[in-house]
């Protein structure tokens, strides 16, 4: 299992415990499933222990018109309390109330909410409202928060939000999405140009987001991984150069194997040319390339060896 997935899980655990990731070094050798199970158990524990305390507050919202409740919420009730109450509301009442609340306040609630405890309410929300709040969360760069909602929202809600996201935000959110099935569905919803945008985003900022792309590729099913590979075949030379540089400089070879295996013949040729060209631009990098060869399928390995021999 990729180190990148462990890294994402450690970041989520650190956020939940409100500590720097470095403080979790003592659990970083655990398996991904152990870390995920630990985070889910602690998150549920911390959230549920206050549920009963706010039940009366949730019930009291039925005694007043939602118009009044909305005013009271925004003026008097901090969003972290509303987040505790959200999952306890009737979905229809919650939808009506959300329609009266300021988008910023709703975004504040999302940041403090455990979406698994409010799935019914969230799925009842009109897609237009979900998109408005998602815009605000994107503006705040709350990517980890948004990823938690991917598991809780409907496909239609996710599709509408995904349409509004650029390549960078799709990658940053995708990095933290937990369910591989939902991540696969999310990518399947993207049109080819938007998927290509994610690769272009990888090349920006000195290739900082290639780890996110490779982590995405690792978690996708075969069909979506091939779609991503097909886009790589059509990518600009700058994108390919950026990928190859990232592989060498960030030592992402092991993480890249699944993406390599998913490439069609045309894409393989483009990538091999870029890899070999980079290998020959310096005296050392061929060693990196040789290290990865045993991990590749026979066909791709032979093609790379052949290309190296010819140079």
């Amino acid at each position: 299992m990729s180190e990148l997935l462990i890294k994402a899980e450690l970041q989520k655990l650190a956020k939940m415990l409100d500590v720097p990731v470095a403080e979790l070094a003592f659990v970083s050798h655990l398996q991904l499933e152990q870390l995920r199970g630990l985070r889910q158990a602690v998150s549920g524990y911390l959230y549920d222990r206050h549920a009963r305390r706010f039940k009366r507050l949730a019930e009291s919202t039925r005694l007043l018109p939602n118009k009044v409740v909305a005013v009271i919420c925004e003026k008097v009730i901090p969003a972290r309390i509303s987040a505790q109450v959200t999952g306890l509301l009737e979905p229809a009442a919650a939808v009506d109330l959300a329609g009266r609340l300021d988008t910023g306040y709703q975004a504040d609630i999302c940041v403090a909410l455990d979406p698994r405890r409010a799935r019914e309410v969230l799925q009842a929300m009109p897609a237009d409202n979900v998109v408005k709040v998602a815009h605000e969360l994107l503006r705040r760069r709350e990517f980890m928060t948004m990823a938690q909602f991917v598991d809780a929202l409907t496909n239609e809600q996710i599709r509408r939000v995904a349409l509004e996201m650029n390549g960078e935000s799709l990658l940053r959110v995708g990095f933290y999405v937990e369910s591989v099935e939902r991540l696969d569905q999310l990518i399947a919803l993207l049109e080819a140009p938007q998927l290509a945008q994610t690769l272009a985003a990888g090349a920006e900022d000195d290739g900082a987001l290639w780890p996110e792309i490779l982590s995405l590729a690792e978690r996708l099913g075969e069909a979506q991984r091939r779609r991503l590979g097909d886009r790589l075949a059509e990518a600009s030379p700058q994108v390919l150069t950026s990928l190859v540089q990232a592989l060498y400089e960030r030592d992402l070879w092991r993480d890249a194997v699944v993406l390599f295996d998913a490439l069609n013949e045309g894409a393989q040729e483009v990538l091999i040319a870029a890899l070999v060209s980079h290998a020959d631009s310096d005296s050392g990098p061929r060693d990196h390339l040789h290290r990865i060869l045993p991990l590749l399928d026979d066909g791709l390995r032979r093609k790379i060896l052949l290309a190296l021999d010819q140079t």
């Binding site: 003592f26 659990v27 630990l38 158990a41 602690v42 911390l46 305390r53 009366r56 507050l57 309390i81």
Partner: protein
């Protein structure tokens, strides 16, 4: 690896040890550090919610505050 002893958790984090996955790979010192971090997060969360509750109640006239607190937050 020796069986981890999570019995101490029941005093301050009742019920949580039973919900945890198998944490094979951690030693007893790691378990104690983990417990300390969870207790710290729990204390922060409780303090944050308590402060938020007080902030809400500050909008209620002082004479009614106790009754509202009892009615809505207990």
């Amino acid at each position: 690896m020796a069986q981890l002893d999570l019995s101490a958790w029941d005093a301050q984090l009742p019920g949580l040890a039973q919900k945890l996955p198998d944490l094979d790979g951690l030693d007893q010192a790691d378990i104690q550090r983990l417990e300390a971090l969870i207790l710290q997060a729990q204390a922060q969360q409780a303090a944050s919610l308590a402060a938020a509750t007080e902030e809400s109640l500050s909008h209620v006239p002082a004479l009614l505050r106790g009754a509202v607190r009892k009615l809505l937050f207990r």
